[in-house]
Symmetry: C2
Subunit: 252 residues, 2 copies
């Protein structure tokens, strides 16, 4: 993995009617985003969830691929009729959709020649020239074409594959994060918080999120920055604010 | 709630760095989508998750508002500096951003005049002419402007408010759904499934999702249609397919 001292971003494209309909809870966004953040210094700046429709997929892949450094798609690379990701991405980039020789071999070995039916063969079809993302759990590989990384939708399989994306990614500056949990309500500190954010807006992002814990209402103040020093400085300001307002800090 | 016998769709716009960074797991998509589907016959056709940035918010609100019958936004309507939804939507539609008289009163009564500080007052500011979505848990109302419904990000509060959106929505045809759980692998039935989907593509959507249950691998076949009769017919075809292939059906 190459390293560059700069901001690198990504978008995630979740493909699947089952997520859109609310039948299945998406877990891939949080997993991929956490992984990109902590392991690669890459921020996820947009997520889209779309149905299994070729026209919609083509449009979204092109938009996201143009606007972000990387795009991670999940879902739609299995053997059934609603698995249209590989064909749609080929169409989006006007690249031939064909059998990938190595993927074909991997799958043929995994299933055995006699059980390697058309559905299974379909999983070896991808945009011409794609690189493979190896799959240690169920053989069928994901693929990379241009700046788009296509992974399966089943979280346990996706999770087992993600490390194999690393060597193809340019690393961004590590994003450090601190969380300060205060037993207060947002509106008690919103004014001062706004002032601290304004003063540090170039280098530190401050987010404020209500929580309920130990029977009490509180606010998590999450600060994020590529500079550890600036992050510490802002957190000292926040702790001073809490002291000034006599707000209890939750120690965890 | 008016009823029309037609397809009505919606998009969801999740606003918040905490979801994008993977710190917080989004639960609002599944909840809103299930509610719209089952209570209003409205299909969610796209979801986007975006950061707390005005420019990004404006662009996405305009795009989604144009392309879908309804847009539901979640998050960013609290008292802190990162709560920019109401102001951004005003900007998107070029509508004045000002105190909503009724919202102001509701909040003033809730907090009491002496504790009604600037942060809390901010929650009464919204696009001029907005309708309120009442909030039975924590007073601060959501709002409706044009075809955009703005709700808070905290799931328990959002859930308590959703019923108050109903009277402003045009009901679509109810979408019926059936799930058939088969103890097989996708590639064993993918060909026949594709044929059944092709034959019924106008009226029934067939989705296929692997599962792991009772120590065995299986596939959930989810069928969705506005026609109960067509749904039953397709499910009879699917059961026949399972019998023909000697596939065990999971009874639940």
């Amino acid at each position: 993995m190459k390293k560059k001292n700069k901001k690198v971003n990504a978008a995630i494209l979740i493909i699947g009617n089952e997520i859109l309909s609310g039948r299945t809870q998406d877990k891939n966004t949080a997993f991929i985003s956490n992984w990109l953040n902590s392991k690669c210094g890459i921020s996820v700046n947009e997520v889209r969830i779309i149905p299994d429709l070729q026209k919609v997929l083509v449009k979204n892949v092109l938009e996201l691929s143009k606007n972000f450094n990387y795009v991670f798609t999940t879902g739609g690379i299995g053997p059934t009729h609603d698995d249209i990701t590989a064909e749609s991405i080929s169409k989006a980039f006007k690249i031939k959709y064909e059998y990938h020789k190595e993927a074909f071999k991997i799958l043929e070995n995994y299933y055995g020649k006699s059980k390697f039916n058309d559905g299974r063969k379909k999983m070896a079809k991808m945009p011409s020239g794609a690189k493979l993302i190896y799959n240690p759990s169920s053989a069928a590989p994901g693929f990379i074409i241009k700046n788009v990384f296509s992974l399966p939708g089943v979280p346990s399989i996706l999770n087992s594959m993600i490390e194999n994306c690393k060597r193809y990614l340019i690393k961004g500056s590590t994003i450090h994060s601190k969380t300060l949990n205060l037993f207060t309500v947002e509106s008690n500190i919103s004014k001062q918080l706004g002032i601290i954010q304004k003063k540090n807006k170039k280098f530190v992002d401050i987010g404020s999120y209500p929580f309920f814990r130990l029977g009490k209402i509180g606010v998590s103040i999450v600060t994020r920055s590529t500079s550890k020093i600036k992050l510490q400085k802002v957190n000292r300001d926040l702790i001073n604010l809490a002291r000034l307002k006599k707000i209890e800090i939750l120690k965890i």
